[in-house]
């Protein structure tokens, strides 16, 4: 049986332009959520987001230049992909190697295209701006990464809203475990834009203050942006290269609650089914699970349904399984969230440190979990879950484990 190892991580968030900065500041209990400056927030319910400021990010050393019209989402993906390959000690070019690329597709070039759409709606067909439009298709970040890194293997873009890149990581690991490829880059990238900002505002799903996952006072999510790409590598391939893995992808589960477009099934029964499917796919015992990186959006309904699901699965033992959410620190990065959280979970396993739930202070009886308040703390999970839930009722859970 082939094993899928995580041997490289590239991470770009509001807490930092790379993996180590993000990890260090996350463990210190810092948050990247603050005043949004990317566009004017007058007229919105909230004015906060976990925004990436330093868009002059390095792109030097790529095999091919992305050219002039690279969008924020593709830019983020390229930075994360290059960091992941370097971290795995793999060459920056995939030319002729057949590496797969599996990406959670988000808003892609919509932020840039919104400028065109506004001018077009106001000013008619003579509006100029082809360069703003070429990355409208949701697989554009994948196309851009594949083009710049010369990737020639399968290229998949999964779009299941907020669970997209969780499923991308699971899919990539399965391609490796099935022997279809030896190396895959997997994760997601998503950029803030007016559509999602206005949309979540219209649903009253955002907190005017920074998000407080699992907290009694929570009033909604904070939007964020970022990217994570993980190198998923066949274990023998990694051993031959002498590279040290962060963790192993043991399996994943994906189901649909068939309940409502924006609300989770409240009893947690549907989410429970996903967790059990993931555990079965991974071939581990429930008793081996020592940490859960939760979806934890900080909306009233999500957090209670999620915790109810864990209680149904683990029963009284849930008190001994810490459950933390990074969304109080990194915001909800939508289609990139699952990839970012998979990366954080892998780091937690490799470094025997559990990330905190930034923003959590007051326990909620409806979310009766050890939410790792404050700062990161030591923890040595052999098996950990990374959980996501999305618009449309899609839930997915990754099972990661310590490499033997």
């Amino acid at each position: 049986m082939r094993e899928a190892w995580i041997t490289g991580i590239g991470l770009l968030t509001a807490l930092g332009p790379d993996r180590e900065t993000t990890w260090r500041r996350l463990l210190a209990g810092e948050t990247g959520i603050r005043q949004l400056t990317l566009f004017d927030t007058a007229g919105y319910r909230t004015h906060l987001a976990a925004q990436i400021d330093d868009v002059a990010l390095r792109l030097a050393g790529l095999p091919r230049s992305p050219g002039r019209h690279v969008t924020r989402a593709s830019h983020f993906a390229l930075v994360a992909a290059a960091e992941a390959l370097a971290d795995a000690d793999l060459p920056a070019s995939g030319e002729g190697r057949g590496w797969a690329l599996v990406v959670g597709g988000g808003t892609a070039g919509l932020y840039e295209a919104e400028g065109f759409v506004e001018r077009r709606l106001r000013g008619g067909a003579r509006t100029r701006g082809l360069g703003e439009l070429v990355e409208v298709p949701q697989d554009s970040p994948a196309d851009r990464v594949a083009h710049c890194l010369a990737l020639t293997g399968p290229r998949i873009t999964i779009t299941t809203a907020c669970s997209s890149s969780t499923i991308a990581v699971g899919t990539a690991a399965e391609l490796v475990r099935d022997g279809e490829v030896e190396v895959a880059l997997a994760g997601g990238s998503d950029a803030l834009c007016r559509l999602t900002y206005a949309g979540f505002n219209s649903l009253h799903a955002v907190d005017p203050e920074p998000a407080k996952p699992f907290d009694r006072r929570r009033k909604g999510l904070s939007l964020g942006e970022g990217a994570a790409l993980l190198v998923i590598e066949e274990a023998d391939h990694a051993r031959r290269r002498g590279v040290r893995p962060y963790a192993r992808v043991l399996g994943y589960g994906v189901t649909n609650d068939a309940f409502h477009m924006t609300q989770p099934e409240p009893s947690g029964a549907a989410w429970e089914r996903t967790v059990r499917a993931a555990i079965a796919d991974a071939g581990v015992a429930l008793s081996e699970v020592g940490y859960i990186n939760g979806h934890g959006t900080a909306t009233e309904q999500n957090d209670s349904a999620e915790c109810a699901a864990y209680l149904r699965v683990f029963g009284a033992r849930l008190a001994t399984v810490p459950v933390s959410s990074v969304k109080g620190a990194l915001g909800h990065c939508l289609c990139a969230a699952g990839g970012i959280e998979a990366a954080i979970t892998a780091l937690a396993i490799a470094r025997a440190t559990l990330p905190p739930t930034v923003g959590f202070a007051e326990a909620d009886p409806a979310c009766d979990v050890d939410a790792v308040p404050g700062i990161g703390r030591p923890g040595t999970p052999d098996v950990a879950l990374s959980s996501s839930f999305a618009f449309g009722g899609n839930s997915s859970v990754l099972v990661l484990g310590r490499c033997a």
């Binding site: 506004e118 196309d143 083009h147």
Partner: protein
């Protein structure tokens, strides 16, 4: 792992030829059939999209149910109900074990434009909350899951022209791994002006003065299962995928990744290139793609010249264009469709004949702008 045998148990579709597989088959049998083209856009001439003008949910969905769905979801739901109907009611599998895999190029874009229209021309507070969930590309698959209470994996693949073929290939993978007993797999695309305008500005849409693509509106669904059921149409016997590093929206010039994807699909199906009985051409009217396809097929097939069917230049390009080709391939190996359309000129000139008799195997190659290739092989059960 060894892949399980995946059967195409039934099909359903909504296309510019009409609602249902019978309407599509009727169009395919008519050499002169052409769609009516055109979608409106603000302050400019219409663009060439083969729309489903006569589409209605009447007789398929109760009005109150249909009203809750956006148009892409209605298209997919009607196609799915046609595919589900022959499988029996109740289904022979628990609904928790039924999944959805849908490809799309542009689902959600009309809703997106409506939300942005409110934000830009009124105020952010006017953004319509009911429209926002429909802006995500997975909304049609999700609404189908909610409508039919399907609890299996519910996945959407946004990969432009190969989204539908990818959805079919990934459905096979999920079936092989036991995540579902039945997957409704295919694609849905909507008629909207934003993506069409992108390709118009890239000068790849057909006009009276230049060749190019026609885009598609519609939905196609193939019901896939590891159990054949009472009357399987075909076996989805192989799939493959490779890519050429190409800038977004541009087509590659190197046919090698398309050849590789086809070889992988044939190998998985256990077929030699000389055993290909029919090719569902990827040709969509773009001259560069036609040349690339000819070179790819000559490399793959050598001197073998199986019959070729081209449907995308009439039914339209998009994720649904690919899924419709796979659906037609399934019907062709089942012997339930007769295609009277001429092969595309670039392949006719290279010696590929028109389809005539029933075939035992069909190759469905796919290529997206940006360089991603997916290929499927369907065989007789």
């Amino acid at each position: 792992m060894s892949a399980a045998r995946v059967y195409v148990c039934s099909t359903g579709c909504v296309s510019s030829a009409g609602t249902g597989v019978a309407a599509l088959a009727q169009a395919l049998a008519d050499p002169a059939w052409r769609p009516r083209l055109g979608i409106e856009r603000p302050d400019a001439p219409s663009l060439p999209v083969a729309t489903c003008r006569e589409f209605s949910t009447r007789d398929v969905l109760p009005p109150l149910v249909a009203r809750r769905l956006d148009r892409p979801a209605r298209l997919l739901a009607v196609a799915a109900r046609e595919a589900l109907h022959p499988l029996g009611d109740p289904l022979p599998w628990p609904r928790d074990r039924v999944g959805v895999c849908a490809g799309t190029w542009n689902a959600g874009t009309s809703a997106l434009l409506e939300v942005l229209r409110a934000v830009f021309l009124a105020s952010p507070e006017e953004a319509p909350p009911a429209q926002f969930p429909s802006t995500v590309a997975n909304a049609p698959a999700s609404q189908l899951g909610i409508l039919e209470k399907l609890g299996g994996p519910n996945l959407t693949f946004a990969e432009k022209q190969v989204g539908g073929l990818r959805a079919l290939a990934e459905a096979c993978r999920h079936l092989s791994h036991g995540r579902a007993d039945l997957v409704l797999a295919g694609a849905v695309d909507e008629a909207e002006w934003l993506n069409a305008e992108v390709y118009d500005r890239l000068r790849t849409l057909r006009t009276s003065s230049r060749p190019g693509m026609v885009l598609a509106e519609g939905a196609a669904v193939l019901a896939l299962a590891c159990e054949p059921g009472p009357a399987p149409l075909a076996v989805l016997a192989g799939w493959g995928s490779a890519s050429a590093p190409t800038a977004p929206c541009r087509y590659p010039t190197d046919p090698a990744p398309l050849v590789l994807a086809c070889r992988q699909a044939l190998q998985r199906a256990g077929l030699a290139p000389a055993e290909v009985g029919l090719v569902l051409s990827v040709a969509n009217g773009i001259p560069g793609l036609a040349d690339l396809e000819r070179r790819a097929l000559e490399t793959l097939l050598g001197t073998h010249r199986p019959p070729v069917v081209a449907t995308t230049d009439r039914l339209g390009e998009g994720a649904v264009g690919g899924a419709l080709r796979a659906l037609i391939a399934a019907l062709a190996v089942a012997g339930t469709v007769r295609v009277a359309w001429e092969p595309p000129p670039h392949l006719a000139a290279a010696g590929f004949p028109a389809a005539a008799a029933r075939t035992r195997s069909a190759l469905v190659p796919g290529l997206a702008g940006g360089g991603s290739s997916v290929a499927l092989v369907l065989t007789a059960p």
